[in-house]
């Protein structure tokens, strides 16, 4: 995980958010990814999203595994604790961290290899457990750090730089998440910041596991003719199924309520997600519609994007566990230890 620190540049007129921080306060180390990498655009969108949400950086935990995408947690919010874990195992570390401290905002950054190959099992079970976190897959269909092997999201017929053709069926994280019962499922494109930022904000505010699959082209190994995860392909085939707008809590609602098919979802913290389906008959609150529509797009060679499914009534891990509201890591010892008198009486059970 290479990172270079940026020189602190402070512009006196830089705009501040409601907690008095500028966007620069949400930045991290200098990226060491290739010039033009889609991941850097996602990082920029994340900085924007966190800044707009007025989240104190030290109240967020940045989680990742191994790979190009996982490196990016070093490139934003240097005042947040970061955890660059083991390849494919970020979900379990985040589950444990969240179990211990439910009050932080957890953002996991992963890639297609990290999530769909080596970490497939952990991703699936974190979804099932409904761990309260935003899980971003920076999906480029390829292993970058080891120079261009196919990942499990590579499309059939996709060509590698060496000319090999992938014949194995791809795993679509969006269909996977819908199948496993995820309560927030979205897809976006790293080159589409206007779409990505509100989705990230909604995902960060979601009560439960929010999965965002971000197609993020690899300029070095998978941005050529024949790749379905290239900038050119995405520009031609991206179909925005749902337009998303996010209105944070305590912000003035400026969005005009003119759309006839506008779906307004009130989030757990009181903020709102406003969704406008561009495909006729698309209902972002119906798992069946979402599943059918995403599959129909796949068949047509299109990539469905937007906040594809949301259900804010789901029960996250702590709801299912019936955990106390105080983070477990902050419970005072005297409420945890039953003491000597209890042990003395317990001993009678073993006599």
């Amino acid at each position: 995980m290479t990172s270079i620190s940026k020189p602190p540049v402070r512009h006196p007129s830089a705009q501040k958010n409601q907690i008095g921080l500028t966007k620069a306060d949400y930045e991290g180390g200098m990226s060491t990814l290739c010039a033009g990498c889609g991941h850097d655009s996602v990082t920029a969108a994340l900085i924007q999203a966190f800044w707009e949400l007025d989240l104190p950086p030290h109240r967020a935990a940045k989680m990742s595994g191994i790979g190009c995408s996982s490196k990016t947690t070093a490139y934003f919010m240097k005042q947040s604790h970061g955890f660059n874990s083991v390849h494919g195992r970020m979900p379990s570390v985040t589950t444990g961290a969240n179990a211990a401290n439910r009050d932080l905002t957890y953002i996991g950054i992963s890639g297609d290899g990290d999530s769909l190959n080596i970490g497939f099992g952990q991703l699936a079970h974190a979804i099932r457990r409904n761990v309260n976190m935003l899980y971003v897959i920076e999906n480029n269909g390829v292993y970058g750090l080891t120079k261009g092997q196919f990942s499990a999201s590579a499309d059939v017929g996709s060509k590698s730089r060496k000319g090999e053709v992938n014949e194995q069926t791809p795993i679509d994280p969006v269909l996977l998440a819908l199948t496993l019962g995820a309560t927030f499922v979205a897809r976006s494109f790293s080159g589409d910041k206007t779409q990505l930022v509100p989705i990230l904000k909604a995902g960060l505010s979601h009560h439960g596991f929010a999965l965002i699959d971000v197609i993020s082209p690899c300029v070095s190994f998978n941005d050529h003719e024949g790749s379905a995860k290239s900038y050119a392909y995405m520009r031609r085939h991206e179909v925005e199924v749902v337009e998303t707008d996010f209105v944070p809590l305590r912000r003035e609602i400026k969005v005009p309520e003119t759309h006839e098919e506008l779906t307004v979802v009130r989030m757990h913290d009181g903020s709102e997600v406003r969704l406008h389906a561009t495909a006729p008959g698309y209902n972002p609150r119906s798992r069946d519609t979402a599943y059918r529509h995403v599959q129909a797009c796949v068949r047509k060679g299109e990539v469905a994007t937007g906040l594809l499914f949301i259900d804010e009534s789901g029960r996250e891990m702590h709801d299912m566990q019936r955990t106390v509201t105080t983070p477990l890591a902050q419970l005072p010892y005297d409420v945890l230890c039953p003491g000597s008198a209890v042990l003395d009486s317990l001993m009678e059970r073993y006599r």
Binding site: M1, T2, S3, P56, H58, R59, A61, T73, A74, K78, S80, H81, G82, F83, N84, S85, V86, R89, P91, S92, V93, T95, G96, A97, N98, A99, A100, N101, D103, L104, G121, Q122, A124, H125, R129, H318, Q321, R322, T323, V324, T325, P327, L328, A329, Q330, L331, Y333, V335, L336, C337, P338, G339, S340, V342, L343, D344, L346, M347, Y350, R351
Partner: protein, 599 residues
């Protein structure tokens, strides 16, 4: 020879038929009579239909190791009649179900065969098939009560306690007990020369298994996060922890849980959860066994290098591979001590019995936070799943968790700048911060190369500086971890080293060796890395034995690696067939080695 309160019996049954409750009933009754007693459950990796045995040792001298010989066998499993009858010592007894004839070929001249028509009596007395099967066990308990003079009043009281709310079952159990008891009284001369007589040697003791005691340790240490994947023989540990939490960790006002137990999808995930929770500042643990330890290797090395606390309770079973899941061994010593790739080392604590499972589990949580690293509690199936007689567990209410060097907001505000891996006082331990506390304390946990400031590095010198500090940290740990327990005798010229559950057999063997003129001291090592006293002990004796329960003499290898003692200087005494080690085997090996040397 006086055999009152000094004998062993075993029942040979089929698993899933309810014999376990009869066996524990007998054992607890003897315990309540004030007589020292131990039980070893030898069970199959199966739910129903395979042979299972339960050995009970009655020892007025307080020996708790696996019995050296079996004086009486209750043979209720025709599939194992031959081996069960063969396992009784000469002059011993076989109690079998005479509802069906015993093959004449199996009859031994040197043992007394006692036939009790258990099946026929139960068929006549009870109507439901289930009762007829299950109560046959209580009937043999009744017969044994007569033959071995186990107090019927005590057994009946125990039945009353157990079935207090199930009147129908209570009556049936009493009747079955009486069937066996009356038959034995009528047909045999009771009691046998091997029998019980009340003592007053158990009033300060309890009968408890190590998994329950570890769970109590985790409860009292203040653990709040448990992550695990089911695996024999560790499963009952997390089950027990959950039950204790349901009793003692409920917020009174809300009924909500002051704990979070996650059943993971596999052991890799369980390890990741422990590490995530430890990083956040919760006391977190997992329990597992050999195959789980193998799966957790990568994460263990990660936690070692990134310095995150956590407790790993390893209830060892016989390996390699799936091995013998329901048999005991101490065969994970190497894979715990140096778990994971690269230069790694881990703290391992070795409880000898359930009482120490409790105290060392508490200690493990302290050590994990003080040294910011994974800590193993190396239990095994024998300790974990068998009921041992140990002193009552006690708790000191002045105990407060040792959280190690954790900087709070005030300390961070005072500090000029925070660097995660900077050792400021020379003990090899750097201060850490917890997420969510302050932006000033934020740092990046990375398994990749990092310098003492916590920044990524590929620079050789900066990398070495950190890993050399880790060496220093473990040197500090070696000095501060629980000390070995040494038992010395006047004029000893033999030293015996051991860990864990070999303790009871070694204690007993030392007594028998003394009777043969061999005077031995023993050192029970309680922690790895080894305390400085360990090398001094080895150097003190002309002959040094290392007792352990694995094939490859792993403890001896660890001693050779860590203390520089040549391997040949230490003589291995090994037991690795999956059964707990016995004093008899130790005495034979040690005595014959010494005889060979002097000849």
């Amino acid at each position: 020879m006086n055999r009152v309160n000094d004998f062993a019996f075993k029942s040979a049954t089929v698993n899933g038929t309810g014999s376990a409750s009869a066996n524990s009933l007998l054992m607890e009754a003897i315990f309540r009579m004030g007589i020292p007693v131990t039980g070893k459950n030898i069970f199959p990796s199966n739910i129903q239909g395979l042979p299972t045995w339960y050995e009970v040792r009655v020892s007025r001298d307080g020996f708790t190791a696996r019995p050296p010989t079996i004086d009486l066998v209750v043979a209720l499993n025709p599939a194992t009649y031959a081996q069960d009858i063969a396992s009784v010592c000469s002059g011993g007894y076989v109690l079998y179900d005479s509802s069906w004839p015993l093959d004449a070929k199996l009859v031994r001249e040197d043992v007394t065969i006692l036939g009790v028509p258990l099946g026929a009596m139960c068929r006549e007395a009870f109507t439901r098939d289930r009762d007829r099967t299950l109560l046959r066990n209580i009937a043999y308990a009744g017969a044994l009560a007569a033959l071995l003079q186990i107090d019927m009043g005590v057994i009946e009281t125990m039945l009353n306690e157990k079935f207090a709310r199930k009147k129908g079952l209570l009556d049936a159990n009493h009747r079955a007990l009486r069937l066996g008891y009356d038959y034995a009284q009528k047909h045999f001369s009771c009691p046998l020369p091997i029998h019980c007589a009340p003592m007053n040697e158990t009033s300060g003791s309890i009968l408890i298994d190590g998994n329950t005691a570890c769970a109590l340790g985790a409860l009292y240490a203040g653990a709040t996060v448990g992550a695990w994947y089911p695996i024999t023989p560790s499963t009952s540990l997390m089950d027990a922890f959950k039950e204790f939490c349901q009793e003692f960790r409920i917020e009174p006002e809300t009924g909500l849980h002051r704990y979070c137990i996650v059943q993971a999808e596999d052991e890799l995930s369980a390890a990741g959860m422990v590490i995530g929770a430890g990083w956040m500042g919760a006391r977190a643990f997992t329990c597992t066994s050999g195959p789980g330890i193998s799966l957790m290797q990568e994460f263990l090395g990660f936690a070692y290098y990134t310095e995150i606390p956590g407790v790993w309770i390893n209830v060892q079973r016989a390996g390699p591979a799936t091995g013998l899941p329901t048999r005991t061994q101490q065969a994970d010593l190497m894979s715990m001590a140096y778990a994971s790739h690269g230069d790694t080392k881990h703290i391992v604590l070795f409880p000898a019995d359930p009482a120490e499972c409790f105290t060392l589990t508490v200690e493990a949580f302290n050590a994990a936070e003080r040294f910011q690293t994974p800590v193993f509690v190396a239990s095994d199936l024998d300790i974990g799943m068998n009921d041992w007689m140990v002193p009552r567990l006690q708790w000191d209410d002045s105990y407060r968790p040792d959280r190690g060097k954790v900087l709070d907001v005030a300390e961070l505000e005072q500090a000029k700048k925070f660097f995660r891996y900077l050792d400021t006082d020379g003990d090899g331990v750097a201060a850490r911060t917890l997420p969510g506390v302050s932006g000033k304390g934020a740092y990046f946990v990375r398994g990749s190369g990092h310098d003492k400031f916590g920044a990524y590095t590929e620079d050789g010198a900066a990398y070495r500086e950190v890993v050399d500090r880790l060496t220093r940290k473990f040197e500090t740990a070696a000095r501060e971890l629980p000390k070995p327990v040494v038992i010395e005798q006047e004029g000893a010229d033999v030293g015996i080293l051991l860990v864990g559950s070999s303790d009871c057999a070694v204690r007993e063997a030392v007594v028998h060796l003394h009777e043969q003129g061999i005077v031995a001291d023993s050192m029970r090592i309680r922690s790895f890395p080894f305390a400085p006293e360990v090398k001094a002990f080895i150097d003190r004796y002309r002959t040094v034995f290392v007792v352990e329960q694995n094939r490859d003499a792993q403890l001896r290898s660890l001693l050779a690696i860590e203390t520089g003692t040549p391997r040949d200087r230490m003589i291995s005494v090994l037991e690795y067939a999956g059964q707990p080690i016995t004093a008899g085997a130790l005495v034979t090996t040690i005595a014959s080695h010494l005889a060979g040397v002097s000849a």
